[in-house]
Symmetry: C2
Subunit: 155 residues, 2 copies
């Protein structure tokens, strides 16, 4: 499928009061090539393998394919991944009928908080919550595949 | 799991008379890094995604993880793969209670025929059929991930 996403910095912790879920995620990459990233995730009790294609020029659309795998298998694959395993909390917040996924990074990326909204159409408008800051859609520095290689503490 | 395999050149077509199956395989790689290859296959009506780790020094053992996926999804992932999609026939031959998998490559690799035998132990002995030639276990040139980048016609 093709995914349409926009990504923003988060300017305060205010989103935490509105969050409906908080999930711990460990993730690594078997491949961080911009044309075909292969991601392994341990998300709560699930394992997830995701392949993403190249982003469109404006960074909003991208081929994405995902399959669930047993958690134990995901953990073995995480051991094979490139250096730079990412740990983060994923918070979900509903705001004006839209779902925001907010990643609060840990470890070498502590202090970095990013929000993503998935849209049905590229030009779809949506209401912005007060804690939503600057848009960073398409800025490669904020891709998880790049964060894993160049963590926030080095920025 | 850890896989123990040995690989050989095939010196004649004689194996074809003994083959119990012949399957057309299209395969590509999302990643050809020797420490973590990610392979996509369309095998008959199935899709298969495989992750392999680094080989042991003698080339016989290697971490391998595999999952079946829908054929249509495999075909989409093949479009994302690195250049050098491989097409081949996989023949299966039982000989003296061992299974040999014989790859007859097509296209840019026509003329290359390789046999693999999977073993339970590194030092396990087995009977060699007459058509089995030189051993090439651990020779990186014969890895499918390398063949896809440097096809047989260029050797």
């Amino acid at each position: 499928m093709i995914e349409i996403e926009r990504k923003f910095l988060v300017t305060s912790d205010a989103f935490k009061k509105e969050a409906t879920s908080k999930t711990f995620i460990i993730q690594g990459f078997l491949n961080t090539h911009p044309e075909r990233t292969v991601r392994v995730r341990a998300v709560g009790k699930k394992g997830i393998l995701t392949v993403k294609g190249k982003s469109s020029e404006d960074g909003t659309t991208r081929f994405e394919w995902e399959t669930e795998i047993p958690l134990e298998e995901a953990k073995k694959l995480l051991q094979l991944c490139e250096k730079g395993i990412i740990e983060k909390y994923r918070h979900e917040v509903s705001f004006a009928k839209n779902l925001f996924e907010i990643d609060e990074f840990l470890g070498d990326n502590a202090g970095l908080v990013l929000a993503e909204i998935e849209l049905n159409e590229v030009n779809q408008t949506f209401k912005k919550p007060s804690w939503l800051g600057e848009e960073v859609t398409g800025d490669i520095k904020y891709y998880n595949s790049q964060i894993s290689k160049n963590p926030f503490k080095n920025w």
